[in-house]
Amino acid sequence: MLELKGLSRHFGGVRAIDGLDLTVRKGEIVGLIGPNGSGKSTTVNVVAGLFPASAGKVFFEGKGLEGMPTHKRLQAGIARTFQNIRLFGQLSVWQNLWVAQNAPEDHARRGFFARWLGGQSGVRAEIAHLLEFSGLAHKQDELAANLAFGEQRRLELARALAAKPKLLLLDEPAAGMNSEEIGQLRDRILKLRAQGITILLIEHVMELVMGVTDRIAVLNFGQKIAEGSPAEIQANPLVRKAYLGGA
Amino acid sequence: MLDFLQAVSDGLLFGATYALIGIGFTLVFGVMHKLNLAYAAASIGAAYAGLLILQVAAGAPPWAVFLCAFLGGGVIGWLVYLTCFHFIPLSNPLAPLMSTVGMLLLIDEIIVHVTAGMPQNYPAMFDDVMLRVGEFTLRGDLLLVAGVSVVCMIALLALLYRTRLGLATRAVSQQPVAAQLCGIRVAQVNAMTFIVTGLLGGIAGALIGASVGALSPLLTTPLTVKGLIVTVIGGLGSIPGAIVAGLLVGAFENVFQQFRGVTERDLYVMLLLFAFLVFRPSGLFKP
């Protein structure tokens, strides 16, 4: 579904990503790990369209994404969450989801007028479903800025789902969570896969990565140094060296 | 051709004042990421304040008036800081902007009230001196304007790059939170930025008064617009940019005034701005 071929992204002299080859097949959950500064978030940003690639290509469902603006990528089926949560703080939980309903199938189903100027009634059911999934139904009218941290993370994920994506890029969704929350996140991610969504998970929290991914790729200094199943990666000496450094 | 070059040289000399105004706008923007729309009005207000010394000592020499304007500018700058930036939480970007607009109107009205709307004569220095360089005439008073402006710019750059205050200012402009964590008192730095730009503005206002020969409250709006145009063309936050842009706008404006008259002149300055916005929106220099 997603293919990165020789992807590079430079910022001045810094090679944030350097010749990265990565394939994510439909229905997989692939993890992307690596020490800080290894290029994981940059990869998400390039795939999402925030930065153009300096070299190499990104293919989604066989088609090159070069030059496609971010909002069109969302409509093509790629959604992402942010590492530092970027909710619309002054809008309510409900409104945050409402704004994000930009999937092409929704656009086709309801006319222009209904979609933009219609009231809330037409989409109540769908948004209610998203709220249920994220356990936020009781807070639907609360301003996003007033939510607890864990709730904000759930809203961030729900918002990414509002556009019915085919591919979900999760940027460190477990940061700052405790064990129980990580367990709930793991269950939610597995439910999403069961619904047919392909997932690329950037993460530091090994508890989550090892427990939920099919395959893991490891980055260091912008290059892929290892790829394999969770068990293979855990046993790989190169990976340990990258994280712990030293001889 | 000669006329053209003469117009350019006069324009460049006068453009030095635009450069000073542009520096004031751009410095506040660079440090606090906010626009102080009252700046040009405050500069003209400071120039008026300079005239106060003539109330006290009737025969005072022009440089005393300039000095008084200089100091008045610092005071007014500090007042603008207090009323628009000190108390308003910076998380609200629109409120300080609106407040500076309020100060702009307030300063304008105070000027109109105190002077009953009558233009005030402004002393000039060396206005009877004409230097001849080959075929060109360089007006003595304009040379002074340019000279003083250059001295001010050098002083400002020295302040920013060779003193601790300057270092603190640059730190705050880049990372205000980290600067605070390093013990820099951000409020103090911000206040000093306003005082320093106010001092600069006072000089600029006085120099403008001196080269035009009179001050009038009608000067504030066009000066605000031009100052902002200079700031944008130079690149928001860049002092060298403001300097170059000020000279550029001064020269451009004077050339068009020479050849197309006063009414069309301003339209061409707007077109210059739009040309930059289309082809080089980040301005001449990056901050």
Binding site: H71, R86, N102, R159 | E109, M270, F274
Partner: protein, 287 residues
């Protein structure tokens, strides 16, 4: 009674001006161009009734169309200009439009006299209401029909997904893009709607004052346009209405007894309002 009708007319027209800025401000674009769209609507509607003999309602419609079209044209380049630079760019655009009308002559002979805009002299004899025997009360009601329609339309937008999307863009463009919002469409459409509302306001203004000239559409008017929604708060359209009533009715008329000093108070009151209540009368940005 006529006095109160006149006041209500002024409040109505300024509310339209404020509303035109309100919708653009929601998207985070601080625009000083609304007075320019207002001017375009004024001249367009005036010329159609005076020179073309049109009925007032289609003339106002044309004013809205011209305002909207200009705003749409401005909206695209405005996308390239970030944050506070947009203030400067729109300010310069506004001044450019004003200068255009300063130089704009289009006169047609009607019987013995010539009518139409005449550059610096302005556009006199826009006497549609007088020629058709409208009373002051009727004009007031007519103006308020448009005000109420505009407020209703904007209220509806606010309650709909479009309104939530506008505010999302105003809050965080990056996040909005990432959830599929087309920034260009949203920002330009908001600017266009604002231009339409300003065009209607301008058209009504021209007929209510019967004489318009370039100086009416200056930086001060552009400032009023954004002052109303900022002082009133961006929570909903009533904030803007409240601010207009506060400024026009209370300040300008009610403080008439202060004579000349009331203009002084205006600036001071804006500064005070922004310090005491930076989020505006009605507060925050949630509809």
């Amino acid at each position: 009674m006529d006095f109160y009708y006149g006041l209500a007319q002024t409040v109505g027209i300024h509310t339209l001006l404020g509303l035109s800025a309100y919708i653009v401000l929601l998207t985070g674009q601080v625009t000083m161009a609304q007075a320019a769209f207002f001017a375009i609507g004024a001249y367009a509607a005036g010329m159609l009734t005076v020179l073309g003999g049109w009925h007032i309602v289609p003339a106002l419609g044309a004013g809205a169309v011209f305002g909207a079209a200009t705003a749409c044209a401005v909206g695209f380049p405005a996308l390239r200009v970030k944050g506070l630079m947009l203030v400067v760019a729109t300010l310069a655009f506004g001044e450019g439009v004003r200068l255009f009308f300063f130089n704009f002559d289009y006169q047609v002979a009607k019987g013995e006299i010539k009518v139409g805009p005449l550059g610096g002299e302005g556009f006199r004899q826009i006497r549609y209401f007088q020629e058709h025997g409208w009373s002051t009360g009727e004009v007031m009601l007519f103006i308020w029909v448009f005000v109420i329609l505009s407020m209703a339309a904007l209220w509806w937008f606010d309650r709909s997904r479009y309104g939530a999307v506008l505010r999302a863009v105003g809050e965080d463009e990056l996040a909005a893009q990432s959830v599929g919002v087309n920034l260009t469409a949203v920002k330009v459409s908001a600017m266009t709607v604002g231009g339409a509302v300003a065009g209607i306001g301008g058209g009504l203004y021209a007929h209510y004052t019967t004489h318009i000239e370039h100086a009416n559409f200056n930086v001060l008017l552009a400032t009023f346009a954004i002052a109303y929604p900022i002082v009133g708060g961006l929570k909903n359209v009533f904030g803007t209405l409240a601010a207009v009533i506060f400024v026009q009715a209370f300040l300008i008329e009610g403080l008439r007894f202060l004579g000349d000093w009331r203009n002084l108070l205006f600036g001071a009151l804006i500064v005070a309002a922004m310090n005491l209540r930076p989020q505006g009368f009605l507060g925050g940005r949630r509809a």
